[in-house]
């Protein structure tokens, strides 16, 4: 037994290959890859890899090593991954992160170390406000912005008597609060459903009985597939328009298909955005991976382009202040056209209304129907003491 | 006349449609071996289970050592001086024989919410346990894991565990079940040695053993006591002969 552990310790020592080559770019990329929840992680990893391909495998022209980590959607596993990436692999950047609770778990440990944390998706409000950090950047969005855009749209269109629904967890509550920050009309009902709920029959019956003029839901992933299908099956889609956030996208559309046709949702990105970077991204992504990219994939792709631009400008990865300044400058080639950074290091960008459409080849995608918020920053930036 | 050690009055136990104990009354006086016999399904084990507190009767009273114990749990009855053995050997098979008995001693040596001192080095438990093993003739086998004891030895171990609780009344449920002739003989000797010092309610199929040991016998049929008396009276009882005992058996 003793022999065994001694062997283990020396094996661990061998695994450690201390490399302090200062001009080698080391990036940790953390998403959920294994297990049933792995689909979003796959989208993001595919987007990230395409980004690497587009920069010739060298971020900022320097030799680049990417360490992919699977967080299993467990906060403590994510925390251990970043420990490993920072202390063993000695990365300069930790990127990825799908889930808000995982972001909350690693935000402190990463930003306190001399490592940059770049969120490719999660954007919970505490780290946009009081807990903002100079070592953190988001190339996605702050959680509240997307529903805020939806609230503004509903308000501007004069839609009244809206029924609101979201899962009973923090993001769900933030989403409905976000809608109501801009939507001031009558609320026909507000329902929080079970996290991971599969059957919405009870909620749909109650909804029908409430007789709203419009419905807003935030039901990401499998919940969105369930709800959108059941909403259509209950015959409600034709009578009450459905507005969404993160409920109908390239991850869920292949399973929703016609049930989602015509569903509206706000987002910072859509496959049909007509800028050259996005056109190349979407075309190459479909060619390489064989499916339509989602915003998750686009954001992961943008993460690479963001790092590439900053590192290229500085020329090394050891001058952290210069890197920070370069990152703050924004204006890197990205799929959304233009991204600037707020004082809290969250993007200022456009929010669009997208509609689900059917393409000639029978696949489903989203098309931009208009800008709701041009160059929109989040509402927590004012709580962030950082200024530059 | 002194009060009986155990007095059962009008005991009733039903399982669905079946009445396993039917208005049964019984009294056991101090120092006697009181055998309960009856054909299979007569409700003997059900009776023991109610006496020991493992099964709650539907009606009737059980008085023990001068108080009503009908509503007490098995462990509470044990502390009043009631001990039982089981028809199907019930020991701690993974423990050595001595540990089996020591656990029984420990149950009556104050509470066991003691979390620190090693119980196996506690002379206050080991010595009485050893004495009880000695009493049943298992002293030499103290260190053997109970599962590895022979069937007969396991039955003896059960008796030792019951004795270790210093009972005033022993409820023995077929202590000779499954034993060979030699083992049975040893058990009879053992029980005879206990006679006089302990009051015993004995359920047994082995009629030779019953008539050799019992001071009094109660005959159960379909949950009812059809007769109680000395072995001689029971032998002579026509109803018993008709209902249960074949002439050949009584010999």
């Amino acid at each position: 037994m003793k022999k065994k552990l001694v062997g283990l310790v020396s094996a661990l020592a061998l695994l450690a290959t201390p490399s302090l080559a200062a001009d080698k770019v080391k990036v940790g990329f953390i998403v959920t890859l294994s297990g049933p929840a792995g689909i979003i992680g796959k989208h993001m990893k595919d987007g990230f890899e395409l980004g690497l391909e587009h920069v010739g495998g060298k971020i900022g022209g320097l030799e680049t090593e990417v360490i992919f980590g699977d967080d299993q959607r467990k906060p403590d596993v994510a925390k251990q991954l970043v420990d490993k990436m920072i202390k063993r692999d000695r990365v300069q950047f930790v990127t990825g992160v799908i889930w808000s609770n995982l972001m909350m778990a690693i935000h402190g440990p990463v930003t306190r170390s001399d490592t940059f944390l770049i969120s490719s998706n999660a954007g919970p409000s505490p780290i946009a406000g009081k807990r903002c950090s100079e070592n953190f950047f988001s190339v996605s969005w702050q959680n509240d912005q997307t529903p805020e855009a939806m609230g503004k749209y509903l308000q501007d269109k004069g839609i009244d008597n809206v029924y609101l629904m979201a899962p009973n967890y923090q993001a769900g509550k933030d989403m409905l609060a976000g809608v109501r920050r801009y939507y001031k009309g009558k609320v026909a009902g507000q329902v929080f459903t079970k996290l991971g709920q599969q059957d919405y029959s009870a909620e749909l019956s109650t909804l029908r009985a409430a007789g709203p003029d419009a419905v807003f839901v935030f039901l990401p992933g499998g919940m969105g597939i369930n709800f959108v299908k059941q909403y259509a099956q209950a015959g409600l889609k034709d009578s009450i328009p459905l507005y969404t956030a993160f409920t109908a996208d390239a991850v869920t559309l292949p399973a929703q298909k016609d049930a989602a046709l015509g569903v509206l949702g706000t987002q910072t990105w859509s496959p049909d955005l007509a800028n050259p970077v996005n056109k190349r991204f979407v075309a190459d992504f479909r060619a390489k991976h064989g499916y339509i990219p989602s915003f998750y994939a686009a954001q992961a792709y943008d993460t690479v382009r963001f790092l590439d631009a900053a590192v290229a400008k500085v020329g090394n990865v050891s001058d952290r202040d210069a890197l920070r300044a370069a990152m703050r400058a924004g204006d890197f080639p990205n799929t959304r056209g233009s991204i600037k950074f707020n004082n809290n290091h969250f993007p200022i960008q456009n929010f669009y209304m997208r509609e689900v459409v059917k393409q000639d080849d029978g696949s489903f995608t989203t098309k931009i129907r208009g800008i709701v918020f041009p160059a929109y920053g989040d509402s927590y930036a004012k709580d962030c003491k950082m200024s530059w | 006349m002194t009060e009986p050690v155990l007095a059962v009055e009008g005991l009733v136990k039903r399982f669905g449609g079946l009445t396993a104990t039917d208005d049964l009354s019984l009294s056991v006086t101090a120092g006697e071996i009181h055998a309960v016999i009856g054909p299979n399904g007569a409700g003997k084990t059900t009776l023991i289970a109610q006496l020991s507190g493992d099964l709650a009767p539907d009606d009737g009273r059980i008085r023990f050592a001068g108080r009503d114990i009908t509503g007490l749990r098995a462990d509470e009855r044990s502390h009043l001086g009631l001990a039982r053995s089981f028809q199907i050997t019930s020991i701690f098979p993974g423990f050595p024989a001595l540990d089996n008995v020591a656990l029984a001693v420990q149950a009556h040596a104050g509470h066991s919410f003691r979390f620190w001192s090693p119980a196996r080095r506690d002379a206050g438990l080991r010595e009485p346990a050893m004495a009880a093993l000695d009493e049943v003739g298992l002293a030499a086998r103290a260190g053997i894991v109970a599962a590895n004891l022979s069937h007969g030895e396991q039955r003896q171990l059960e008796i030792a565990m019951a004795l270790a609780t210093k009972p005033s009344l022993l409820l023995l449920d077929e202590p000779m079940a499954g034993m060979g002739i030699d083992e049975s003989a040893r058990m009879i000797d053992l029980l005879r040695g206990l006679k006089g010092r302990h009051t015993i309610v004995l359920i047994e199929h082995d009629m030779d053993a019953v008539f050799a040991l019992a001071d009094r016998i109660t005959v159960l049929v379909y949950g009812r006591a059809i007769a109680t008396g000395t072995p001689a009276e029971i032998r002579a009882n026509a109803e018993v002969r008709q209902a249960y005992l074949g002439d050949a058996h009584v010999g």
Binding site: K87, G108 | D75, G94, L103, S112
Partner: protein
């Protein structure tokens, strides 16, 4: 030192000494990550060893023990939220609260046994999980960051080595206390109840109260693991109370070897190292294979059940004496 006369105990002591050597070795070779990794492993080892006290020794399969990790972690987290970072307040309170929760939940659960016990403990853990999700002030599902405990200058838990040795000390204490416990009068009762609770009742033990006490002790020790967990992760969220986490603990116990004290430590180590390195090893065989590590991990569990009875500890011939 009677311990030195028992080879198995000696092996355990050596393993503990090796664990004690992790921080200086890792500092020497400049690999601080492994200090953090083994800190987490030891925290789960404490929780698994606590669970084994009732599962392996007492035969009570609790499918909700992660709830007590949650109670301990949230005690530290919520106190930290209100600015109380003093570990001398946090830890005793974590002990007290997990004991209270275990006593209340246990009082109801202990009435059942077998599979019913498994499911009712799961039910209560699920209730606490959903309660955690609905605690909006404390971040709900997103959880909340936690500042590490302060011990009046005696310990600086932001120093990875201090945290490591605190956890190590608690693990060692847990194992020593567990060793005393399972061999004490109380421990004999617990083991007797696993073996034959009908017989225990018949010789005069009020089985309910002993089972409940064992359950409370186990839950409380898990609560301490939870308080340490909050310190290690600097974060608490309901995720730690998810039923899968309770299942992980059971797996650690069985894989390591139930009814032993050191088995769960080996189980937690094996489980978490496999989780850590299986993907890396598979990724080495084929790009992209790493994310399919469950493909290998699942059958490994099945094989352990089929061929390694007694778990890893059993492979070393380390089955402890005197249980069924």
């Amino acid at each position: 030192m009677q311990a030195l006369r028992q080879p198995r105990l000696l092996a355990q002591l050596i393993l503990l000494l090796l664990l004690a050597a992790v921080p200086p070795v890792m500092t020497a070779i400049d690999e601080p990550f492994y200090t953090s990794l083994f800190t987490r492993i030891m925290i789960f080892a404490i929780a698994a060893a606590s669970l084994d006290l009732i599962l392996g020794y007492g035969g009570m399969v609790s499918f909700g023990h992660a709830a007590y990790i949650g109670v301990g972690a949230y005690t530290v987290g919520i106190l930290s939220f209100y600015g109380v970072d003093n570990g001398f307040i946090q830890f005793p309170l974590a002990v007290l609260l997990s004991a209270v929760f275990a006593a209340v939940i246990g009082a109801i659960c202990i009435r059942t046994s077998g599979v019913y016990f498994i499911m009712i403990t799961l039910a209560f853990a699920q209730m606490l999980y959903f309660l955690g999700i609905s605690l909006e002030e404390y971040g709900g599902d997103d959880g909340m960051p936690v500042y590490r405990s302060e011990f009046g200058g005696l310990l600086d838990l932001y120093d990875a080595n201090h945290l490591y040795y605190l956890v190590f000390a608690v693990l060692a204490a847990t194992l020593y206390f567990g060793h005393r416990l399972v061999n004490s009068r109380f421990g004999m009762v617990v083991r007797g109840m696993k073996s034959n609770s009908l017989r225990m009742r018949a010789v005069g033990y009020p089985v309910y109260w002993y089972r409940l006490t064992a359950y409370v002790i186990s839950g409380t020790m898990c609560g301490v693991a939870g308080a340490l967990f909050a310190n290690w992760s600097e974060f608490v969220s309901p995720d730690i109370m998810h039923w899968v986490r309770s299942g992980d603990l059971i797996i650690m116990v069985i894989v390591g070897g139930m009814g032993t004290l050191f088995g769960p430590v080996l189980g937690a180590t094996a489980f978490l190292l496999m989780e850590e390195y299986l993907p890396e090893i598979l990724e080495g065989t084929a790009p992209g294979a790493g994310e399919h590590w469950h493909f290998v991990f699942g059958p490994i569990l099945i094989l352990i059940v089929l061929f390694a009875k007694g778990g890893i500890f059993g492979l070393f011939g380390g089955r402890e004496r005197g249980d069924d």
